[in-house]
Amino acid sequence: MTTILELTGVSKAFGGIRANRNVSLNVKQGEIVGLIGPNGSGKTTLFSSIVGAHPVDAGTIRFKDVDITPLRVPQIARLGLLRTFQQTRIYGGMTCMQNMVISASQRDATLFDLFARERADLDDRAERLLEFVGLYGKRHLPGGSLSFGQQKLLEFAMALMNEPDMLMLDEPTAGINPTLINGLVDRLKRANEEFGVTLFVIEHNMRAIMTLAERIYCLAHGELLAEGRPEEVRNDRRVIDAYLGAY
């Protein structure tokens, strides 16, 4: 399997706080990789660094063999690397359908495509993806009127609509009703298998990430602590210590 994302020595500090220290990792195409670690270990910062939301202090990031370290967020997104947000961001003033249609892939699009006639194929895809996440009946409601969990699903559907090569999800099960988490994990797996989307997932829900991921990285105090298959990481002494605070 080819490597689709590669980080080498990535460091990022905010003032005196070293959020990421010399982090190196990789994700192979088609994989589902998890990123775990106690609160404040720098997971979201790492995601933000990868997608270009802030410049990194040191290190390189390569996506599909392109050096994306100096690139801006829209450019990286157009290369096929998307991320969802921890606080779930959607377009609250627009309907679910509109949220979906505007999320269609921008990769080959120019500004003028936005002026073209409405495309039935976009509407079709949008409807099917909304049904995939279970929001078909609510597709004409404004995004802002959905519940938090429904908005998370909408955000996921929008990401799929964009046909990304790799999707980075920041705590996709946070705030979701426990009975619905299995359904979400299921959909994530299907997205990976059927649509071929590589997944890189930050999670706190151990059960969810252990069943979902093929490989897991563990971050603590901004540094990479451990890496391996779920069973290995779960039983790693250092990981247990990090979570229980012995570090």
Partner: protein, 299 residues
Amino acid sequence: MSNISILFQAPPLALQLVIDGFLIGAIFALAAYGMALVWGVMNIINITQGEFVMLGGFVAVVLYEAGIHPLWGVPAAAAVLYAVGWLTYRAVIFRIVDRDLFTSLLATFGISIILQQLMNQVFGADVRIAEAGLGSWFFADGLVTISQIKVVGFFICLGMGGGLLLFLKRSRLGQAIRATAQNARAARVLGVDTDRVYATTYALNAAICGAAGALVAMAYTIHPYIGLPYTIRSFMIVVIAGLGNLAGVVVAGLGLGAAEYFAGFILGAQFQLAFVFLLLVVVLVVRSWRLAMKRQYLK
């Protein structure tokens, strides 16, 4: 542009511009401090700021035209504008404190239009002054003139700024104001009457502007339309210095005053206001660019 060479040929002229610039800059800094206070505590950008200055100036004018020495105008304007500010808060501002910044921009813009047009109706658009009757000091063979009332104004500004600082640091209400600025919710939970804090802050700001306005009327001139430029100057100074940076506000205020005088001299008086507003645009654009380098934006 040939005026620049004159500056080099007669250095005392440049000194004059700097001195005059600093003297009015103190007034700019004072008004900016008030705007920063309201912005920091209530998250409201007060477009009415300049109109409060204008109103204060008219208080001094009214006193002067009634035969009273306009220096009494400073405390009088402060008192009158404190009431005006408090009333404005009770009538309008308290309703928009929790809303988005654009609402506060538009609402305070509307209030500024009301005040400006009201004064235009009552006093007419003519330029007014309040003569303080003080003379000037002359230096360098008469090339450098320092108007005494301007110097008096400078020290009054310093005094007021210092007094405000002391009030915020030492008094109970001042501490309540600072607490609310940092975290309104927490302050409320701890028993601070945030509504009273907001009212006091807004009224205090108006009072400061009023006093500044009285100084403007004595040292310079007043008419109903001087408001917006003062608002823009205050905003610019706060943007350059940053909220909570008092030293920065003073430096930026004095610097702006000097810059304006130089611009007026070099470009011609008719372009002085254009300079002020263009400078605002330049400051914002430069700030925006520098943030873009860090992949952030002005928000």
